[in-house]
């Protein structure tokens, strides 16, 4: 569960104030908003990667406002995957477990389990170079899921994928969510993605976050985003 209370973030001249929202346990929340409105900044603050001026962040009921990123137990899937270029797919999936000092057999079992869930078993011994966009995102997802996080944050994970791969990854994310029961916070510009995935859709407007329903999302004249913003987002 994610609870954000009156968050205040300052980044030079850019400022976000009074940001509050929550995502319930097992819920798939999608956060939308114009390019540059601060969605990624909020995600980074939740993960502990961005200092905050004031406000509180509670994760699964515990105050995580000043916690180090490592202690928050959040799986992060960035926009470009941000895979570690010197490791194989197997090593990426095992990374968090190795850091946690898991035994070799337990790591192997978990990596095989994840690889099967994500359909990357045939890629396990490959380096990350030459992986397709979809394969990279599956690997990044597996790396984030490896240590059984209760919260998963995804920052536009499908922005660089073609429609077919995007559809495949959408249904995979749904499967993963029902298999893990984790709480997902997913940033996207894509209306269809939000429609397909979101149990709850949040929109960031003028520094505030409000919930919108599926009808409002699908309304043709809804003041969402121009094509150029989608492309640059």
């Amino acid at each position: 569960m994610i609870q954000v209370e009156s968050l205040h973030i300052q980044l030079g001249k850019f400022e976000l104030q009074h940001v509050s929202f929550e995502v319930n346990p097992g819920e798939y929340a999608v956060l939308m908003g114009r390019t540059g409105c601060g969605k990624t900044t909020i995600l980074e603050a939740i993960c502990g990667l961005r200092p905050i001026v004031s406000g509180r962040i509670l994760l699964n009921g515990a105050d995580a406002t000043r916690m180090k990123p490592a202690m928050r137990g959040i799986g992060l899937v960035p926009q470009d995957g941000a895979l570690f270029s010197t490791l194989t797919v197997r090593e990426q999936l095992a990374f968090a477990l190795t850091i946690r000092g898991w035994k070799h057999d337990a790591i192997k079992k978990r990596v095989d389990e994840l690889a099967e869930l994500l359909g990357v078993t045939h890629l396990l011994d490959r380096g990350v170079h030459g992986l397709s966009g979809g394969e990279r995102q599956r690997t990044a997802l597996g790396r984030a899921l490896a240590f059984h996080p209760r919260i998963l944050c995804l920052d536009e994970p499908m922005s660089a994928l073609d429609d077919e791969t995007r559809d495949g990854l959408c249904s995979l994310l749904k499967d993963v969510q029902s298999a893990t029961g984790a709480c997902f916070l997913h940033i996207t510009h894509h209306r269809d993605e939000a429609h397909a995935l979101g149990d709850r859709i949040l929109r960031m407007e003028d520094g505030a976050i409000r919930e919108i329903d599926q009808n409002e999302l699908q309304r043709p004249n809804a003041p969402l985003y121009s094509q150029s913003e989608i492309m640059t987002g």
Binding site: E44, C47, G48, L49, K68, P69, A70, R72, I74, G75, L76, P78, D80, A82, L83, F84, S85, T86, F95, A96, I99, R100, V128, H129, G130, L131, R143, A144, A146, F147
Partner: protein, 290 residues
């Protein structure tokens, strides 16, 4: 001819004129590229002719004779040892400084950044003189009395080489860390790493190409260092004599063959290093594109 036809003809004439000007502009691309190519070729010819004339000035027999000299053999050995130590020390210094300068913002960063370039812009003789004066200071005199001699001894050769070579290594490592997106470290932090684990497990392996380049650049730079060594370490045969010192000493006694033999060793070393950097750099760059 009615008004519309006249207007059409006028438009066609204007369009033709524009096309001719365009064609002329494209025709003018030839001389532009030719000028660039001539300048590039002239400079390459200067480098090539310089090296070829070195090769033709001497014979393999003269070279071998020169290399048999004990003084020159000592200088080759001392150069290889000191240069390698300097390059290793430079990388050890450059990696933390480069990472710090790349990732941390603080007041006065621009000043520190400029200060790190001082050994690059200072005249070499001034660096040697400054080191010499520094080691006249009481604490360092005490150090030399109680531990080991630095000035006019082998450690001064290493220190003189390190002072300059390190600045180049720092610049290289700073650029390397700048080119590695911090997002990967951030992901590592969320996966359970501490800052140091993220650095050693993620950043450092990704920076291996930069580390290799920094090492080779520092090595090459240290190999060519002369001014600071001459002032700070002196030019005593069989003691503080490194390859550039040998060239200077041999020239000063008029033995051009020996000076050239030593110069050619440095040329071969430089060419080998360049090839290594290029080859390793290219294969890594191809990987980093993805």
């Amino acid at each position: 001819m009615n008004h519309a036809e006249a207007s059409g003809a006028e438009t066609a004439r204007t369009s033709d004129a524009h096309h001719s000007r365009l064609a002329l502009a494209h025709y003018a691309d030839g001389p532009f590229w030719a000028c660039l190519a001539i300048i590039a070729c002239a400079y390459l010819a200067l480098i090539g002719c310089m090296l070829i004339s070195d090769l033709f000035y001497t014979t393999p027999g003269d070279l071998l004779d020169a290399l048999k000299s004990e003084d020159i053999q000592y200088s080759i050995k001392l150069s290889l040892i000191t240069v390698t130590i300097s390059a290793i020390l430079s990388v050890w210094t450059a990696v933390p400084i480069g990472y710090l300068m790349s990732r941390i913002s603080f007041r006065g960063k621009n000043f520190i950044d400029a200060a790190l370039d001082i050994p690059i812009v200072l005249p070499p003789l001034v660096i040697g003189l400054s080191l010499l004066i520094l080691f006249q200071a009481a604490p360092l005199k005490w150090f030399q009395t109680h531990f080991f001699q630095v000035t006019y001894a082998v450690p001064s050769v290493v220190l003189a080489q390190y002072t300059v070579a390190c600045a180049f290594a720092v610049r290289t490592m700073r650029n390397t860390f700048d080119s590695i997106h911090p997002r990967r470290e951030q992901v590592a932090l969320t996966l359970g790493c501490s800052r140091s684990q993220a650095f050693f497990k993620v950043v450092l392996p990704e920076a291996r190409r930069g580390i290799f380049t920094a090492f080779t650049l520092a090595w090459a730079r240290a190999m060519g260092e002369f001014g600071p060594i001459l002032i700070f370490a002196g030019s005593t045969r069989q003691k503080t004599e490194v390859l550039p010192t040998t060239v200077f000493l041999e020239l000063s006694i008029g033995d051009i063959e020996a000076a050239l033999a030593v110069s050619l060793i440095m040329v071969f070393a430089a060419v080998l290093l360049l090839l290594a950097i290029r080859n390793y750099g290219v294969s890594q760059a191809q990987q980093n594109v993805i």
